[in-house]
Symmetry: C2
Subunit: 122 residues, 2 copies
Amino acid sequence: MAKAIPARACPVAAFQKMISGKYKLRIVWDLKDGPRRYGEIRSGLLRGAGGSAEITPRVLSRELKALTESGLIDRKDFGEVPPKVEYRLTRKGKSFVPVVAAIREWGERNLNEAAALADAAE
Amino acid sequence: MAKAIPARACPVAAFQKMISGKYKLRIVWDLKDGPRRYGEIRSGLLRGAGGSAEITPRVLSRELKALTESGLIDRKDFGEVPPKVEYRLTRKGKSFVPVVAAIREWGERNLNEAAALADAAE
DNA sequence: CAGCATCCTGCGTGATACTG
DNA sequence: CAGTATCACGCAGGATGCTG
């Protein structure tokens, strides 16, 4: 089992580790416009997910924690009740946005149904 | 459960689906220099994996098939014994290479241990 | 050489309920 | 509001052995 991340050997492996999970990339993308609160992120994810799929707090929490530990985002807790927590991109996270943009751009161009069907010949 | 890929709603989700799996990105990257045979891909993956981790044929086979069905690579079977099969990037696959390059570049710049430690302040 | 068949395991993810 | 706790499950992915 490969448990340790051989980052130096293969950057893409480390990249995959870092963005593994269904929501991490979308969270980063959502955060590119500025800080957002927990609930806002949650709502934002729901809209694009296919509508009905409820993202559970447990999962979102894990994703956010993982992103924080990866150093892509930063957690800002305004103390006290009612709880208010904001998440924002770190410098590292911001530097990552263009990469996500590239992914999105490519995806929009090549992953639309038409392309998928028409590519049988290639 | 989100089973169908709502590609239009979220390109990154579709992207993640497409490159899910430990080896797909690396396979694409290996293939960027030209066609490669099954065994060559296998060997290539072993070198960067951490050395000891053996990639099983079952897994590699699955990844290659998935990539083929995604339209990123193309399988060319020179009939007959001894078996010889080459895999090459499709046009779609080639268009994807720059994205992988961006990922690698970012990874090399930001995923080395040093950077991870120095980012605490941010 | 380039796979396929079978079995097995850990982890990611979802459902549900509860809390400071 | 922003989480944590517990339970459950499908599936990626590894081990091993066989084949055309």
